[in-house]
Amino acid sequence: MKDWFAGGRVLYPLIGLGLLLMFDFFFVPNFFQFEVRDGRLFGTVIDILNQGSKVMLLAIGMTLVIATGGVDLSVGSLMAVAGAVAAVLVTRSDLPVPVVCGVALGAVLLLGAFNGVLVSLVGIQPIVATLILMVAGRGVAMLLTDGQIVTFENEALVYIGNGAFLGLPFTLTLVLAVWGGALLLTRRTALGLFIETVGDNETAARFCGVPNRLVKTGVYCFSAVCAGVAGLIAASNIKAADSSRVGEMMELDAIFAVVVGGTALTGGRFTMAGSVTGALLIQTLTTTMVSLNVSPAIIPVPKAVVIVAVCLLQSDKFRAEIGRVLGRKAMA
C-alpha cells in the first residue's frame, strides 16, 4: 500500500510522534504501564488512543474534503448535533440504540449534504459554506436539548465511548472501521483518483468526465458522518450531550492533523495515514502536558513549538535548505 507512506510525507509526523513518545518514556511516570482489568487493557497509551479517536475520525473525513481543495469547519458543531439527537431520542423515546444512532447519523448526513450542495451546486466557497453550519449547527443542538446538558444511562449507548472490544477501547474499532472503509473506497476504486483530480484541477477533471459535483457533495457527506460518529463517541464517553461545549475548536484540531499529516490545503494528493498520525500527535501532546502538570497558561507554547517543527519538516524548501547548510558543514 503506497498510501501508507505517501512519498515519505507520513514519515515526518511519525518521527514527531516517535520522539514525543520517547520523551514520555523517560519523563512521564507510568506512561507505558499497561494493566489488564475486567478483561481489557488500561494505561495512558490506551487513553490516548481512546480520547484521540474523535480527532482521528474528524481528520479522516477532513482529509478527503481538503483533498478536493475544500475545508469543513462545521464538524465540531455536527458532533454536537449527533450527540444531542442521540441523547434526546434515548431519554425521551423507547427506540433501540442502533436506530437512535442511525437517526443521529442520518441527521448529520443531511447536514453534510447541505454543506456539499452549497459548495458544489451553489458555488459558495467552502470556508463560508461550512461556516454557516458551524454557527447554526450548534444552535440546532442547543434547541434540541433546551441548552441543557442531557444525561443518559442507556448501557448500549454508553458502550460506544466506554466499552471494550477485544481488550481495546471500542472507539478504536470504530476508527479502524471508518478508516478501512475509506481506504477501500479511495484506493481500491477510482474514487480516490477522482477526489485528487477534482482537488488538483477541477476544470480538467470535469472535461475528463469526472462527476465533480457528486464527488464534492460526497466528501462533505462523508466528513459529516465521521463527525457524527465522533459526536456519538463524545456524548457516550461522558454519558451526556453537552451541546454548548462538545467539539468546540475540534474542527481546527482536525485541520491541523491533516496538514501535519502531509496533505496540502491546496488539494490534490492526500494521505489518511498521515492525518491519523497527526491526530495521535495532538492527543499525545495534550496528554503529555497534563501528565507533566504544565501550567494551563503556558500549555499552548510547547504545543506551538512541536507544531511548527513538524510543519517545517513537511516543507520541501525548508528541508532542502537544511540539507544545504549541513552539506556545506560536512565539506568544510
Binding site: 507510568n30 447554526a136 441548552g147 466506554n162 463524545a234 461522558i238 454548548s244 461545549r245 497534563v290
Partner: protein, 345 residues
C-alpha cells in the same frame, strides 16, 4: 460562572437567529415588557396567606440577560416569585443575551416611571449613559449576579453577587475538615483566564494555606467542561495512581466527568477519592445522593429576596454597601438528600 459562559455561547450562536426577530420586535414596540405578578396590589392587595408581604404598591423593572441556562431561569423565577410574594408589580424584560436590548429595556422602564430597576448586566461596559438617565429620573438600580464598570459608582445602588474567592475557600475548609487535614489533591481549573477560575483557585489556596499536609499535587484546566474534566482526571490518575486522595473541581460538570474517570480507574469516587466542587447544580445533587460526589459549594441564583431587600432599602433612602455578598451554602452527602427536591436549578 458557568452561566456566563453559556450565555456568551448562546448569545453568539442562537443570537444570530433571534437578533433579527428581536430587533424588529424592539423597533415595533419599544417597551416590550410584561407585568408578571398576580396583578397590581389595588386588585384586593397581596394575598393574606403570604406572610412575607410587607408594603406593596410599587413597581420594579427587571432587565434579565436571557434564559440560556437552568441557573438563569432559576434566578428569574426567584425574582418573579419574590415580587409576587411582596405584592410588587414587576415588569420583566428578556434581553436575549444582547446589551442593546437591555439598554432599551432599561430606557423603557424609565419612561414607564418604575420605582426601581433590577439589572443583570450582559456585559461590564457601556452602561454610563442609561444609568445616568435612571439617576436623573431618581430611579435606584440594583445589580444582580454580575458587576459593571462605571467611573461613578453612585450610578447604581448595590451589586448582589456571589464571591468566587469565598466559594473556593469554603470548598477548601470543607475538604480540610473531611480529610482531617491530610490529602493529595488534583485540582481541575476552569477556563484559563476566566474570573471564576482565577478566584476559585485563589480562594482554595487561601483555605489550604494553614494546612501543610493538604497538597495540590496537580492543577490542570478542565475548561469547565465535563469531557475535558474526565480526560484530564483520567491522565492525572494514571500518573499519580493511588496517591490521589481528593479532587477539587471549579465547577460541578468537571467534577462529574472526574467521577467517571475515578470509577474507570477502579477506585470509588466519594470513598477512595473525595470529590468537592462548586455551583450546586441539580446533577451535582443527584451525585451527592448517590454518594459519588462528596460536596458542592452552591453558587446561588436565588437572588430574589436579597434583591428586593436592597430595592426597599434604596427606596427608603438607606445608603447601601456597593457590594452585597450572597450567602452561599455548602452541601454535602449528608445534607443533599434533604434538599434535592427543593432544588430549582
Amino acid at each position: 460562572m458557568k452561566s456566563n459562559r453559556l450565555m456568551n455561547q448562546i448569545g453568539a450562536r442562537l443570537g444570530l437567529f433571534t437578533a433579527t426577530t428581536a430587533a424588529i420586535l424592539w423597533a415595533g414596540c419599544g417597551q416590550q415588557s410584561k407585568p408578571v405578578t398576580g396583578g397590581p396590589s389595588a386588585s384586593g392587595g397581596a394575598p393574606a396567606s403570604t406572610p412575607g408581604a410587607t408594603k406593596a404598591g410599587y413597581t420594579v423593572g427587571f432587565a434579565q440577560v436571557g434564559a440560556e441556562s437552568s441557573w438563569r431561569t432559576a434566578e428569574t423565577d426567584s425574582i418573579k416569585g419574590e415580587a409576587e410574594q411582596r405584592g410588587v408589580t414587576l415588569k420583566f424584560s428578556d434581553a436575549q443575551g444582547k446589551q442593546e436590548n437591555q439598554i432599551k429595556a432599561v430606557r423603557g422602564f424609565i419612561a414607564q416611571g418604575v420605582d426601581a430597576i433590577i439589572l443583570a448586566p450582559v456585559v461590564e461596559t457601556g452602561w454610563e449613559p442609561v444609568l445616568k438617565e435612571a439617576k436623573q429620573a431618581g430611579i435606584p438600580v440594583v445589580l444582580v449576579d454580575r458587576g459593571l464598570k462605571v467611573a461613578d459608582e453612585s450610578l447604581y445602588a448595590t451589586l448582589i453577587a456571589s464571591d468566587f474567592v469565598a466559594e473556593g475557600r469554603m470548598a477548601a475548609e470543607w475538604l480540610v475538615k473531611k480529610t482531617g487535614g491530610k490529602a493529595s489533591i488534583i485540582e481541575l481549573q476552569g477556563t484559563p483566564g476566566a474570573a471564576p477560575a482565577i478566584d476559585r483557585k485563589k480562594g482554595f489556596e487561601e483555605g489550604l494555606k494553614e494546612h501543610v499536609d493538604m497538597k495540590i499535587i496537580a492543577s490542570q484546566s478542565g475548561d469547565f467542561r465535563r469531557s475535558v474534566g474526565k480526560e484530564v482526571a483520567e491522565a492525572l490518575l494514571k500518573v499519580h495512581g493511588t496517591k490521589v486522595t481528593a479532587v477539587y473541581a471549579h465547577n460541578d460538570d468537571m467534577a462529574l466527568g472526574a467521577i467517571q474517570a475515578i470509577e474507570e480507574a477502579g477506585r470509588k469516587p466519594g470513598v477512595d477519592v473525595i470529590v468537592v466542587s462548586i455551583d450546586g447544580v441539580k446533577g451535582a445533587f443527584e451525585a451527592m445522593v448517590k454518594g459519588t460526589l462528596n460536596c458542592s459549594v452552591e453558587c446561588s441564583p436565588l437572588l430574589g429576596p436579597l434583591a428586593f431587600d436592597a430595592v426597599e432599602k434604596a427606596l427608603a433612602g438607606v445608603e447601601l454597601p456597593k457590594k452585597t455578598i450572597v450567602d452561599d451554602q455548602v452541601y454535602d452527602t449528608t445534607t443533599a438528600k434533604d434538599v434535592i427536591d427543593s432544588r430549582k436549578y
